[in-house]
Symmetry: C2
Subunit: 261 residues, 2 copies
Protein backbone atom coordinates (compact mmCIF):
# COMPACT_ATOMS: atom_id res chain seq x y z
CA UNK A 1 0.00 0.00 0.00
CA UNK A 2 1.32 3.42 -1.00
CA UNK A 3 0.77 5.92 1.82
CA UNK A 4 1.17 9.57 0.83
CA UNK A 5 1.03 12.91 2.60
CA UNK A 6 0.48 16.23 0.89
CA UNK A 7 1.97 19.47 2.19
CA UNK A 8 1.24 22.93 0.86
CA UNK A 9 0.46 26.51 1.62
CA UNK A 10 -3.23 27.40 1.71
CA UNK A 11 -4.97 30.76 1.47
CA UNK A 12 -6.96 32.11 4.38
CA UNK A 13 -10.57 32.61 3.38
CA UNK A 14 -10.05 31.79 -0.31
CA UNK A 15 -11.66 28.39 -0.99
CA UNK A 16 -11.28 28.77 -4.77
CA UNK A 17 -7.52 29.23 -4.49
CA UNK A 18 -7.37 26.30 -2.09
CA UNK A 19 -9.14 24.07 -4.60
CA UNK A 20 -6.23 24.79 -6.91
CA UNK A 21 -3.73 23.90 -4.18
CA UNK A 22 -5.66 20.70 -3.55
CA UNK A 23 -5.76 19.83 -7.26
CA UNK A 24 -1.98 20.21 -7.39
CA UNK A 25 -1.56 17.81 -4.47
CA UNK A 26 -4.12 15.33 -5.79
CA UNK A 27 -2.46 15.26 -9.21
CA UNK A 28 0.94 14.74 -7.65
CA UNK A 29 -0.40 11.96 -5.39
CA UNK A 30 -1.95 10.21 -8.38
CA UNK A 31 1.42 10.35 -10.17
CA UNK A 32 2.95 8.71 -7.11
CA UNK A 33 0.29 5.95 -7.22
CA UNK A 34 -1.07 6.84 -3.78
CA UNK A 35 -3.54 4.37 -2.32
CA UNK A 36 -4.10 6.48 0.80
CA UNK A 37 -3.51 10.23 0.84
CA UNK A 38 -3.53 12.50 3.89
CA UNK A 39 -3.94 16.24 3.37
CA UNK A 40 -3.60 19.01 5.98
CA UNK A 41 -6.15 20.35 8.44
CA UNK A 42 -8.51 23.06 7.15
CA UNK A 43 -6.97 22.79 3.72
CA UNK A 44 -10.18 23.96 2.09
CA UNK A 45 -10.33 27.24 3.94
CA UNK A 46 -7.08 28.32 5.60
CA UNK A 47 -6.69 28.34 9.35
CA UNK A 48 -6.51 31.51 11.39
CA UNK A 49 -9.99 32.96 11.21
CA UNK A 50 -10.66 36.03 13.33
CA UNK A 51 -14.41 35.51 13.61
CA UNK A 52 -16.99 32.76 13.07
CA UNK A 53 -18.44 34.84 10.25
CA UNK A 54 -15.11 34.83 8.47
CA UNK A 55 -14.84 31.06 8.88
CA UNK A 56 -18.43 30.53 7.81
CA UNK A 57 -17.80 32.37 4.56
CA UNK A 58 -15.02 29.85 3.76
CA UNK A 59 -16.86 26.78 5.09
CA UNK A 60 -18.65 24.09 3.15
CA UNK A 61 -21.11 21.31 3.83
CA UNK A 62 -19.78 17.77 3.64
CA UNK A 63 -20.09 16.02 1.22
CA UNK A 64 -21.84 18.51 -1.03
CA UNK A 65 -19.26 21.31 -0.95
CA UNK A 66 -16.70 21.91 -3.70
CA UNK A 67 -13.67 20.51 -1.86
CA UNK A 68 -15.68 17.43 -0.88
CA UNK A 69 -16.70 16.83 -4.46
CA UNK A 70 -13.15 17.24 -5.71
CA UNK A 71 -11.83 14.78 -3.13
CA UNK A 72 -14.59 12.25 -3.74
CA UNK A 73 -13.87 12.36 -7.47
CA UNK A 74 -10.15 11.77 -6.92
CA UNK A 75 -10.91 8.78 -4.68
CA UNK A 76 -12.94 6.99 -7.37
CA UNK A 77 -10.11 4.84 -8.61
CA UNK A 78 -9.91 2.66 -5.47
CA UNK A 79 -8.17 5.37 -3.48
CA UNK A 80 -8.76 6.88 -0.06
CA UNK A 81 -8.16 10.50 0.83
CA UNK A 82 -8.59 12.33 4.13
CA UNK A 83 -8.57 16.13 4.14
CA UNK A 84 -9.20 18.82 6.69
CA UNK A 85 -12.32 20.82 5.83
CA UNK A 86 -13.93 23.84 7.46
CA UNK A 87 -17.35 22.24 7.89
CA UNK A 88 -20.64 24.07 8.09
CA UNK A 89 -23.58 22.13 9.50
CA UNK A 90 -26.68 24.15 10.20
CA UNK A 91 -25.55 27.09 12.32
CA UNK A 92 -22.43 25.30 13.57
CA UNK A 93 -18.87 25.21 12.31
CA UNK A 94 -16.53 22.26 12.85
CA UNK A 95 -12.84 21.71 12.31
CA UNK A 96 -13.38 18.44 10.48
CA UNK A 97 -11.53 15.82 8.51
CA UNK A 98 -13.55 14.11 5.82
CA UNK A 99 -12.72 10.70 4.42
CA UNK A 100 -13.53 9.78 0.84
CA UNK A 101 -12.94 6.31 -0.55
CA UNK A 102 -13.70 4.75 -3.91
CA UNK A 103 -15.73 7.75 -4.99
CA UNK A 104 -17.93 8.03 -1.90
CA UNK A 105 -17.96 9.98 1.34
CA UNK A 106 -17.04 7.45 4.03
CA UNK A 107 -17.20 9.54 7.23
CA UNK A 108 -16.44 12.88 8.81
CA UNK A 109 -14.50 13.34 12.06
CA UNK A 110 -14.94 16.55 14.02
CA UNK A 111 -11.86 17.54 16.04
CA UNK A 112 -12.20 16.68 19.72
CA UNK A 113 -9.43 18.91 21.09
CA UNK A 114 -9.68 22.42 19.68
CA UNK A 115 -6.47 24.47 19.81
CA UNK A 116 -6.29 27.98 21.18
CA UNK A 117 -8.40 30.46 19.18
CA UNK A 118 -10.18 27.63 17.34
CA UNK A 119 -12.41 27.53 20.41
CA UNK A 120 -13.87 30.90 19.43
CA UNK A 121 -14.72 29.63 15.94
CA UNK A 122 -15.59 25.94 16.02
CA UNK A 123 -17.76 23.59 18.04
CA UNK A 124 -15.85 20.62 19.42
CA UNK A 125 -16.59 17.14 18.16
CA UNK A 126 -19.03 14.99 20.09
CA UNK A 127 -18.05 11.57 18.76
CA UNK A 128 -14.95 9.45 19.33
CA UNK A 129 -12.09 9.42 16.84
CA UNK A 130 -13.10 7.05 14.06
CA UNK A 131 -11.74 3.71 12.99
CA UNK A 132 -12.38 2.55 9.44
CA UNK A 133 -11.32 -0.11 6.96
CA UNK A 134 -9.90 0.26 3.48
CA UNK A 135 -8.34 -2.37 1.25
CA UNK A 136 -8.41 -4.80 4.15
CA UNK A 137 -6.49 -2.57 6.53
CA UNK A 138 -7.64 -0.53 9.54
CA UNK A 139 -7.15 3.20 9.88
CA UNK A 140 -7.66 5.66 12.71
CA UNK A 141 -8.10 9.38 12.31
CA UNK A 142 -7.25 12.35 14.48
CA UNK A 143 -6.66 16.04 13.79
CA UNK A 144 -3.63 18.13 14.77
CA UNK A 145 -3.75 18.96 18.53
CA UNK A 146 -5.41 15.61 19.26
CA UNK A 147 -1.80 14.29 19.17
CA UNK A 148 -1.10 16.06 22.45
CA UNK A 149 -3.43 13.67 24.29
CA UNK A 150 -1.88 10.18 24.21
CA UNK A 151 -5.28 8.69 24.96
CA UNK A 152 -6.48 9.40 21.42
CA UNK A 153 -3.88 7.34 19.59
CA UNK A 154 -4.07 4.73 22.34
CA UNK A 155 -7.80 4.30 21.90
CA UNK A 156 -7.49 3.92 18.16
CA UNK A 157 -4.65 1.42 18.53
CA UNK A 158 -6.53 -0.62 21.13
CA UNK A 159 -9.46 -0.76 18.71
CA UNK A 160 -7.17 -2.16 16.06
CA UNK A 161 -6.00 0.80 13.99
CA UNK A 162 -2.84 -0.04 12.07
CA UNK A 163 -2.28 3.41 10.58
CA UNK A 164 -3.14 6.74 12.23
CA UNK A 165 -3.99 9.43 9.67
CA UNK A 166 -3.30 12.90 11.01
CA UNK A 167 -4.15 16.10 9.16
CA UNK A 168 -2.49 19.04 10.92
CA UNK A 169 -1.76 22.76 10.93
CA UNK A 170 1.09 22.67 13.43
CA UNK A 171 2.53 25.78 15.01
CA UNK A 172 4.17 24.34 18.15
CA UNK A 173 7.52 22.59 17.57
CA UNK A 174 6.78 19.39 19.49
CA UNK A 175 4.52 17.20 17.41
CA UNK A 176 6.76 15.67 14.80
CA UNK A 177 9.11 14.13 17.38
CA UNK A 178 6.19 13.12 19.59
CA UNK A 179 4.55 11.17 16.76
CA UNK A 180 7.55 8.85 16.81
CA UNK A 181 6.70 8.15 20.46
CA UNK A 182 3.03 7.64 19.50
CA UNK A 183 4.17 5.03 16.99
CA UNK A 184 6.43 3.23 19.44
CA UNK A 185 4.04 3.17 22.37
CA UNK A 186 1.22 1.83 20.17
CA UNK A 187 3.17 -0.03 17.49
CA UNK A 188 1.30 1.73 14.71
CA UNK A 189 2.11 3.72 11.61
CA UNK A 190 1.33 7.44 11.70
CA UNK A 191 1.00 9.85 8.78
CA UNK A 192 1.03 13.55 9.63
CA UNK A 193 0.20 15.98 6.82
CA UNK A 194 1.08 19.48 7.91
CA UNK A 195 0.88 22.77 6.06
CA UNK A 196 3.42 25.45 5.30
CA UNK A 197 3.36 29.23 5.08
CA UNK A 198 2.08 31.91 7.45
CA UNK A 199 -1.22 33.52 8.30
CA UNK A 200 -1.53 36.69 10.37
CA UNK A 201 1.97 36.26 11.79
CA UNK A 202 1.58 32.57 12.65
CA UNK A 203 3.93 30.21 10.79
CA UNK A 204 3.16 26.55 10.15
CA UNK A 205 6.04 24.15 10.48
CA UNK A 206 5.67 21.75 7.54
CA UNK A 207 7.85 18.69 8.17
CA UNK A 208 5.06 16.29 7.22
CA UNK A 209 6.12 12.74 7.95
CA UNK A 210 5.30 9.05 8.15
CA UNK A 211 6.45 6.94 11.11
CA UNK A 212 6.44 3.19 11.64
CA UNK A 213 5.59 0.76 14.47
CA UNK A 214 9.19 0.54 15.67
CA UNK A 215 9.69 4.29 15.62
CA UNK A 216 10.96 4.39 12.06
CA UNK A 217 10.89 7.86 10.51
CA UNK A 218 10.33 6.93 6.86
CA UNK A 219 10.60 10.54 5.77
CA UNK A 220 10.17 14.05 7.05
CA UNK A 221 9.52 16.88 4.60
CA UNK A 222 11.31 20.18 4.82
CA UNK A 223 9.57 23.10 6.50
CA UNK A 224 8.45 24.62 3.22
CA UNK A 225 7.97 21.79 0.73
CA UNK A 226 4.88 22.09 -1.44
CA UNK A 227 4.27 18.61 -2.72
CA UNK A 228 3.56 14.99 -1.94
CA UNK A 229 5.80 12.39 -0.31
CA UNK A 230 5.01 8.68 -0.43
CA UNK A 231 6.18 5.44 1.10
CA UNK A 232 5.11 1.84 0.58
CA UNK A 233 4.05 0.29 3.87
CA UNK A 234 2.62 -3.00 5.02
CA UNK A 235 0.00 -1.96 7.60
CA UNK A 236 -0.15 -5.55 8.92
CA UNK A 237 3.23 -4.93 10.55
CA UNK A 238 1.29 -2.95 13.15
CA UNK A 239 -0.45 -6.14 14.28
CA UNK A 240 2.75 -7.39 15.88
CA UNK A 241 2.50 -5.97 19.41
CA UNK A 242 5.41 -8.02 20.75
CA UNK A 243 7.96 -5.50 21.97
CA UNK A 244 10.18 -8.34 23.18
CA UNK A 245 9.60 -12.11 23.16
CA UNK A 246 8.03 -11.66 26.61
CA UNK A 247 6.31 -8.28 26.25
CA UNK A 248 3.04 -7.93 24.37
CA UNK A 249 2.26 -4.23 24.33
CA UNK A 250 -1.44 -4.59 25.04
CA UNK A 251 -1.46 -7.73 27.18
CA UNK A 252 1.18 -6.13 29.43
CA UNK A 253 -1.00 -3.13 30.19
CA UNK A 254 -2.12 -2.84 33.82
CA UNK A 255 -5.22 -0.68 33.37
CA UNK A 256 -6.32 -1.23 36.96
CA UNK A 257 -3.44 1.08 37.90
CA UNK A 258 -3.91 3.72 35.21
CA UNK A 259 -6.77 5.78 36.60
CA UNK A 260 -6.31 8.03 39.64
CA UNK A 261 -8.58 7.18 42.56
Amino acid sequence: MILSVGQSHFELGDPAANLDHLRFLLDEAARQSADVLVLPELASSGYLFATPAEASAAAEEIPTGPASRLLAEWSRDERLVVCGICEKSGELLFNSAAVFASGAHLLTYRKLHLFNTEKAIFSPGALPPPLFAFQGFRFGLMICFDWFFPEVTRRLALEGAQVILHPANLVLPYCQAAMITRSIENRVFTATANRTGSERGVTFSGMSQVTGPKGELFFRASGDLRGVLSVEIDPARADDKWVTPANHLFDDRRPEFYTPD
Copy 2:
Protein backbone atom coordinates in the same frame (compact mmCIF):
# COMPACT_ATOMS: atom_id res chain seq x y z
CA MET B 1 15.81 22.59 44.29
CA ILE B 2 18.84 20.77 42.93
CA LEU B 3 17.74 17.68 40.99
CA SER B 4 20.53 15.19 40.25
CA VAL B 5 20.84 11.92 38.38
CA GLY B 6 23.63 9.42 38.88
CA GLN B 7 24.88 7.19 36.07
CA SER B 8 27.40 4.37 36.44
CA HIS B 9 28.33 0.85 35.58
CA PHE B 10 27.25 -1.80 38.10
CA GLU B 11 28.49 -5.33 38.61
CA LEU B 12 26.15 -8.29 38.05
CA GLY B 13 25.75 -10.25 41.25
CA ASP B 14 28.33 -8.28 43.24
CA PRO B 15 26.47 -6.17 45.82
CA ALA B 16 29.68 -5.23 47.64
CA ALA B 17 31.20 -3.75 44.48
CA ASN B 18 27.92 -1.95 43.77
CA LEU B 19 27.98 -0.36 47.22
CA ASP B 20 31.28 1.20 46.16
CA HIS B 21 29.74 2.44 42.90
CA LEU B 22 26.85 3.88 44.90
CA ARG B 23 29.19 5.57 47.38
CA PHE B 24 30.99 7.23 44.49
CA LEU B 25 27.70 8.58 43.11
CA LEU B 26 26.41 9.65 46.54
CA ASP B 27 29.64 11.52 47.30
CA GLU B 28 29.53 13.23 43.94
CA ALA B 29 25.85 14.18 44.40
CA ALA B 30 26.62 15.65 47.82
CA ARG B 31 29.39 17.74 46.29
CA GLN B 32 26.82 19.01 43.76
CA SER B 33 24.45 19.92 46.63
CA ALA B 34 21.75 17.55 45.41
CA ASP B 35 18.38 17.87 47.11
CA VAL B 36 16.87 15.01 45.12
CA LEU B 37 19.00 12.26 43.60
CA VAL B 38 17.83 9.56 41.19
CA LEU B 39 19.99 6.45 40.78
CA PRO B 40 19.55 3.65 38.21
CA GLU B 41 17.36 0.56 38.34
CA LEU B 42 18.79 -2.51 40.13
CA ALA B 43 21.88 -0.52 41.05
CA SER B 44 22.45 -2.67 44.13
CA SER B 45 22.65 -5.90 42.22
CA GLY B 46 23.25 -5.61 38.49
CA TYR B 47 20.55 -6.44 35.98
CA LEU B 48 20.70 -9.51 33.76
CA PHE B 49 20.19 -12.42 36.11
CA ALA B 50 19.89 -15.85 34.52
CA THR B 51 17.90 -17.44 37.36
CA PRO B 52 15.88 -16.37 40.40
CA ALA B 53 18.52 -18.03 42.58
CA GLU B 54 21.20 -15.80 41.10
CA ALA B 55 19.06 -12.73 41.71
CA SER B 56 18.16 -13.84 45.21
CA ALA B 57 21.83 -14.08 46.12
CA ALA B 58 22.25 -10.40 45.18
CA ALA B 59 18.94 -9.21 46.64
CA GLU B 60 18.31 -7.41 49.91
CA GLU B 61 15.41 -6.60 52.16
CA ILE B 62 14.26 -3.00 52.23
CA PRO B 63 15.09 -1.05 54.39
CA THR B 64 17.38 -3.35 56.35
CA GLY B 65 19.79 -4.32 53.55
CA PRO B 66 23.20 -2.74 53.05
CA ALA B 67 22.28 -0.55 50.05
CA SER B 68 19.16 0.64 51.86
CA ARG B 69 21.18 1.61 54.92
CA LEU B 70 23.75 3.44 52.81
CA LEU B 71 21.04 5.39 50.99
CA ALA B 72 19.11 6.21 54.15
CA GLU B 73 22.28 7.52 55.78
CA TRP B 74 23.05 9.74 52.78
CA SER B 75 19.51 11.17 52.88
CA ARG B 76 19.82 12.32 56.51
CA ASP B 77 20.80 15.88 55.68
CA GLU B 78 17.37 16.86 54.29
CA ARG B 79 17.94 15.02 51.05
CA LEU B 80 15.87 12.54 49.08
CA VAL B 81 17.28 9.64 47.08
CA VAL B 82 15.56 7.03 44.96
CA CYS B 83 17.50 3.96 43.89
CA GLY B 84 16.70 0.71 42.12
CA ILE B 85 17.14 -2.26 44.44
CA CYS B 86 16.81 -5.99 43.85
CA GLU B 87 14.30 -6.57 46.65
CA LYS B 88 13.76 -9.81 48.53
CA SER B 89 10.52 -10.11 50.48
CA GLY B 90 9.80 -13.55 51.87
CA GLU B 91 10.14 -15.94 48.95
CA LEU B 92 9.52 -13.25 46.35
CA LEU B 93 11.85 -10.99 44.37
CA PHE B 94 10.85 -7.55 43.11
CA ASN B 95 12.45 -5.06 40.77
CA SER B 96 11.96 -2.17 43.17
CA ALA B 97 12.84 1.46 43.66
CA ALA B 98 13.20 2.56 47.25
CA VAL B 99 12.84 6.15 48.39
CA PHE B 100 14.78 7.47 51.37
CA ALA B 101 14.29 10.99 52.71
CA SER B 102 15.76 12.80 55.68
CA GLY B 103 17.31 9.62 57.02
CA ALA B 104 14.25 7.39 56.80
CA HIS B 105 12.75 4.91 54.37
CA LEU B 106 9.77 6.67 52.81
CA LEU B 107 8.35 4.02 50.47
CA THR B 108 9.15 1.25 48.02
CA TYR B 109 7.69 0.96 44.53
CA ARG B 110 7.67 -2.42 42.81
CA LYS B 111 7.87 -2.21 39.02
CA LEU B 112 4.49 -2.72 37.35
CA HIS B 113 5.69 -3.49 33.82
CA LEU B 114 8.47 -6.07 33.84
CA PHE B 115 10.70 -6.13 30.76
CA ASN B 116 11.53 -9.27 28.83
CA THR B 117 13.48 -11.80 30.92
CA GLU B 118 12.71 -9.91 34.15
CA LYS B 119 9.44 -11.83 34.08
CA ALA B 120 11.33 -15.04 34.82
CA ILE B 121 12.99 -13.47 37.86
CA PHE B 122 10.70 -10.94 39.51
CA SER B 123 7.09 -10.71 40.63
CA PRO B 124 5.28 -7.69 39.20
CA GLY B 125 4.17 -4.91 41.49
CA ALA B 126 0.61 -4.94 42.80
CA LEU B 127 0.27 -1.31 43.79
CA PRO B 128 -0.01 1.85 41.67
CA PRO B 129 3.00 4.05 40.96
CA PRO B 130 3.50 6.23 44.04
CA LEU B 131 3.13 9.94 44.57
CA PHE B 132 4.98 11.53 47.47
CA ALA B 133 5.93 14.93 48.84
CA PHE B 134 9.34 16.33 49.71
CA GLN B 135 10.31 19.89 50.56
CA GLY B 136 6.83 21.01 49.59
CA PHE B 137 6.93 19.53 46.10
CA ARG B 138 5.23 16.45 44.65
CA PHE B 139 7.08 13.58 43.04
CA GLY B 140 5.98 10.54 41.09
CA LEU B 141 8.02 7.39 40.61
CA MET B 142 8.23 4.81 37.87
CA ILE B 143 10.88 2.31 36.77
CA CYS B 144 12.40 1.91 33.32
CA PHE B 145 9.91 0.10 30.98
CA ASP B 146 6.99 1.78 32.76
CA TRP B 147 7.82 4.72 30.45
CA PHE B 148 6.51 2.72 27.49
CA PHE B 149 2.95 2.96 28.83
CA PRO B 150 1.84 6.60 28.67
CA GLU B 151 -0.84 5.87 31.24
CA VAL B 152 1.74 5.66 34.03
CA THR B 153 3.12 9.18 33.70
CA ARG B 154 -0.39 10.43 32.96
CA ARG B 155 -1.79 8.99 36.18
CA LEU B 156 1.01 10.50 38.24
CA ALA B 157 0.58 13.89 36.56
CA LEU B 158 -3.20 13.85 37.05
CA GLU B 159 -2.60 13.13 40.71
CA GLY B 160 -0.38 16.20 40.93
CA ALA B 161 3.17 14.97 40.43
CA GLN B 162 5.45 17.81 39.38
CA VAL B 163 8.58 15.71 38.86
CA ILE B 164 8.69 12.10 37.62
CA LEU B 165 11.68 10.20 39.03
CA HIS B 166 12.71 7.37 36.73
CA PRO B 167 15.44 4.83 37.59
CA ALA B 168 16.26 2.81 34.48
CA ASN B 169 18.46 0.16 32.86
CA LEU B 170 17.65 0.99 29.26
CA VAL B 171 18.59 -1.23 26.37
CA LEU B 172 16.12 -0.09 23.68
CA PRO B 173 17.01 3.22 21.96
CA TYR B 174 13.62 4.89 22.30
CA CYS B 175 13.17 6.10 25.82
CA GLN B 176 15.26 9.22 26.08
CA ALA B 177 13.44 10.95 23.23
CA ALA B 178 10.08 9.65 24.42
CA MET B 179 10.57 11.19 27.87
CA ILE B 180 10.54 14.61 26.22
CA THR B 181 7.07 13.70 24.93
CA ARG B 182 6.08 12.50 28.41
CA SER B 183 7.11 15.92 29.75
CA ILE B 184 5.22 17.85 27.09
CA GLU B 185 2.01 15.85 27.20
CA ASN B 186 1.86 16.12 31.00
CA ARG B 187 3.72 19.38 31.62
CA VAL B 188 6.00 17.77 34.19
CA PHE B 189 9.71 17.43 34.84
CA THR B 190 11.24 13.98 34.35
CA ALA B 191 14.56 12.66 35.64
CA THR B 192 15.82 9.44 34.08
CA ALA B 193 18.88 7.82 35.68
CA ASN B 194 20.20 5.13 33.39
CA ARG B 195 23.22 2.85 33.72
CA THR B 196 26.19 2.20 31.48
CA GLY B 197 28.24 -0.85 30.61
CA SER B 198 27.31 -4.31 29.42
CA GLU B 199 26.16 -7.57 30.98
CA ARG B 200 26.10 -10.87 29.12
CA GLY B 201 26.21 -9.12 25.76
CA VAL B 202 23.49 -6.55 26.58
CA THR B 203 24.63 -2.92 26.54
CA PHE B 204 22.94 -0.17 28.53
CA SER B 205 22.59 3.17 26.81
CA GLY B 206 23.45 5.75 29.49
CA MET B 207 22.27 9.17 28.30
CA SER B 208 20.66 9.95 31.65
CA GLN B 209 18.70 13.17 31.42
CA VAL B 210 16.34 15.69 32.95
CA THR B 211 13.46 17.19 30.93
CA GLY B 212 11.13 20.08 31.68
CA PRO B 213 7.40 20.82 31.34
CA LYS B 214 7.80 22.50 27.96
CA GLY B 215 9.96 19.73 26.57
CA GLU B 216 13.25 21.30 27.65
CA LEU B 217 16.16 18.87 27.65
CA PHE B 218 18.24 20.35 30.48
CA PHE B 219 21.02 17.87 29.90
CA ARG B 220 21.67 14.44 28.50
CA ALA B 221 24.74 12.50 29.63
CA SER B 222 26.99 10.66 27.23
CA GLY B 223 26.51 6.95 26.76
CA ASP B 224 29.31 6.05 29.11
CA LEU B 225 29.57 8.79 31.73
CA ARG B 226 30.14 7.54 35.26
CA GLY B 227 29.11 10.42 37.44
CA VAL B 228 26.36 12.79 38.51
CA LEU B 229 24.67 15.59 36.60
CA SER B 230 22.55 18.23 38.30
CA VAL B 231 20.19 21.03 37.43
CA GLU B 232 18.32 23.55 39.56
CA ILE B 233 14.60 23.36 38.86
CA ASP B 234 11.45 24.96 40.20
CA PRO B 235 8.99 22.05 40.38
CA ALA B 236 6.09 24.51 40.73
CA ARG B 237 6.51 25.32 37.04
CA ALA B 238 4.78 21.99 36.43
CA ASP B 239 1.60 23.36 37.97
CA ASP B 240 1.01 25.57 34.94
CA LYS B 241 -1.03 23.32 32.68
CA TRP B 242 -1.94 26.09 30.24
CA VAL B 243 -0.56 25.02 26.89
CA THR B 244 -2.05 28.11 25.26
CA PRO B 245 -4.22 30.89 26.76
CA ALA B 246 -7.24 28.76 25.82
CA ASN B 247 -5.91 25.22 26.40
CA HIS B 248 -5.60 23.78 29.88
CA LEU B 249 -3.97 20.40 29.48
CA PHE B 250 -6.17 18.59 31.97
CA ASP B 251 -9.42 20.55 31.61
CA ASP B 252 -9.26 19.98 27.85
CA ARG B 253 -9.16 16.21 28.21
CA ARG B 254 -12.22 14.39 26.86
CA PRO B 255 -12.01 11.16 28.88
CA GLU B 256 -15.46 10.04 27.77
CA PHE B 257 -13.85 9.39 24.38
CA TYR B 258 -10.63 7.75 25.57
CA THR B 259 -11.77 4.23 26.34
CA PRO B 260 -12.74 1.79 23.60
CA ASP B 261 -16.29 0.48 23.85
